[in-house]
């Protein structure tokens, strides 16, 4: 079997699993809304990994753009109009534009300094959401909005009350975002991202203006993150200031590393494990995070390339 046909089979298997998730998750003790959460958090982890795994830049404040996406969508639904597409667009723009503007200040920092500054910026947005109660709802979060059914003219999608329909709506959004990511990574620009990850000095001396390319990659990642955040607000009909907190950023990094940050689909697997474990363990113990943390430590120790990275290597 050639490398190419193997990749194709894996790709078909992943999409088939996603397409039929509402049907196979239920018999295994899951439910459709759980699958939707996996998709949304998976998209967020993949957006982070677009930067972390493919440009080699660790942002530890990416929850900020996720949370801003959620608030953008929520406030659009609450204050502007009861339109789901408009809410998604507002979320993408709020998360993406804030990320792009602050990203311009970040790109000269490297390594741990970059990570520290991203945490700081992320916390700024967390405290804004936390304190500005009249607009954001403060500590209680933004409430009083709900995703609106989508009217396609011939067909009305009841994404509010029908969980399956909503899952497929989210899957459609997920496919758009992930398709765009894959497309970018296969482009000449995507290859310069990988070049920067592999060897920054060499890239510079190949004529790549490193800072500008990192900024573009960072901004794209923020737009994808805003997209995921907007969908998250639709999932919960609620936007939570803790969605911007650095501990949320840490969760995303954990999902990406656990699943495998060098592989495109790894973070989705990481998000799946994280969300399912959280759902299952949190009904048993409040200390569910210790078990997730233990698993994370084991994965990092024994599969430093993440779970998917490990499988890919053992096949090769």
């Amino acid at each position: 079997m050639t490398e190419q046909s193997r990749k194709l089979i894996v790709l078909v298997a992943i999409w088939a699993a996603l397409l039929f998730a509402p049907y196979w998750m239920a018999p295994l003790g899951g439910y459709t809304a759980l699958a939707t959460r996996v998709l949304v958090l998976g998209l967020a982890a993949m957006s982070l990994n677009f930067l972390l795994g493919f440009t080699g830049v660790l942002s530890f404040g990416h929850a900020a753009w996720f949370g801003l996406g959620a608030y953008g969508a929520g406030m659009s639904l609450k204050y502007l109009a009861a339109s789901t597409p408009l809410a998604v667009i507002c979320g993408i723009l709020l998360g993406g534009l804030c990320g792009a503007i602050l990203g311009a200040l970040l790109v000269r920092r490297r390594g741990v300094y970059f990570a520290m500054v991203t945490i700081a910026f992320g916390q700024v947005f967390y405290y804004i959401a936390f304190q500005w109660s009249s607009v954001t709802g403060g500590d209680d979060g933004l409430r009083g909005f709900a995703r609106a059914p989508i009217d396609l003219g011939v067909l009305k999608l009841d994404i509010l009350s029908n969980a399956e329909v909503f899952y497929y709506f989210v899957l459609f959004c997920f496919a758009l975002a992930v398709g765009a990511m894959g497309f970018i990574l296969r482009s000449p620009f995507g290859r310069t991202m990988i070049a920067i990850r592999e060897n920054e000095r060499r890239s510079r001396f190949l004529g790549i203006p490193i800072e500008r390319h990192i900024w573009i990659a960072f901004s794209l990642s923020c737009f994808f993150m805003g997209f995921a955040g907007a969908l998250y607000a639709l999932v919960n009909n609620f936007a939570d200031p803790r969605g911007l907190h650095y501990s949320q950023s840490g969760d995303f990094v954990m999902m990406a590393v656990m699943g495998g940050m060098r592989s495109f689909w790894g973070p989705l697997l990481g998000a799946f494990i994280f969300v399912v474990l959280q759902d299952y363990l949190s009904s048993i113990t409040v200390n569910w995070m210790s078990f997730v943390g233990l698993l994370f430590v084991l994965v990092v120790l024994f599969f430093p390339r993440g779970l998917l990275g490990f499988f890919q290597r053992s096949k090769a």
């Binding site: 000449p188 290859r191 310069t192 060499r202």
Partner: protein, 249 residues
């Protein structure tokens, strides 16, 4: 016509003067070797040319234009390519992918979200031609990190060549190589110089390589230009012998 004109360049790091008032012109098609004892300022001088940092004083002109304050990537776009003393490559990518990144940047595609078929075919052809030039065409699919030291050097040179440079800067191309590999790289540089008429400036420790290849040799010592001339003149120069052998000679 001079490809490179360096006038009275000085570089200080605090109290240390790494390069002191050095001038050098490199003519089109010339192969100029820079030699000197350890700590003579050779690599600093190279870093000044390639834009790693700007000089404290003095000017550098490339193809008749002042580039003294230009950033690295702007110099590369104007046709300057370099390799490093310690090989700088993309170890987890294949030889082909390594060179393709350089070829795409050189074609001005670095910000492109896609390339059409004709453009991709052109890049492919360019990469294949470059790999043939450095005799790596049979290893195109191998990961660069898995190649021998000599082949990694050749891959790094291929990346520089894929940029279609007017000036090739090679920092100790034979560093850490055995006799066989040194011979192969020397042959490659000779071929690039004689057959493809590249303008080359190189730093080298191996005197056999220098006297074999260079049209002109520059000797740096304690940041100053000690001597400049044909390999024969340099071999006969007493000041150079003193610098290399110590004052006992």
């Amino acid at each position: 016509m001079n490809v490179l004109e360096i006038k009275n360049v000085t570089k200080r790091f605090g109290n240390l003067v790494a390069v002191r008032d050095v001038s050098l012109n490199v003519a089109k098609g010339e192969l100029c070797a820079i030699i000197g004892p350890n700590g003579a300022g050779k690599t600093t001088f190279f870093n000044l040319i390639s834009g790693f940092f700007p000089p404290t004083s003095g000017t550098i002109a490339f193809d008749g234009q002042d580039i003294t304050r230009l950033a690295t990537h702007q110099r590369v776009v104007r046709g300057m390519a370099r390799t490093f003393q310690i090989t700088e490559i993309f170890p987890e990518l294949t030889v082909f992918e390594n060179v393709r990144i350089a070829a795409e940047v050189a074609s001005g595609y670095r910000l492109r979200p896609w390339v059409n078929r004709a453009e991709a075919a052109k890049v492919q052809q360019h990469v294949e031609d470059t790999l043939k030039l450095v005799a790596l065409e049979n290893k195109a699919g191998r990961l660069v990190g898995e190649l021998s030291h000599g082949d990694q050097r050749a891959a790094e040179i291929a990346m520089a060549l894929a940029l279609k440079p007017h000036l090739l800067l090679l920092d100790e191309p034979t560093a850490g190589m055995g006799d066989q590999e040194t011979y192969q790289i020397t042959q490659l540089i000779r071929k690039l110089h004689r057959d493809s008429s590249y303008t080359i400036v190189l730093i080298e420790h191996d005197m056999r390589v220098v006297f074999n290849l260079a049209d002109r040799v520059c000797v740096l010592d304690q940041g100053r230009m000690l001597a400049m001339g044909t390999p024969k003149e340099i071999a006969a120069n007493e000041a150079v012998q003193a610098a290399y052998l110590g004052n006992a000679a």
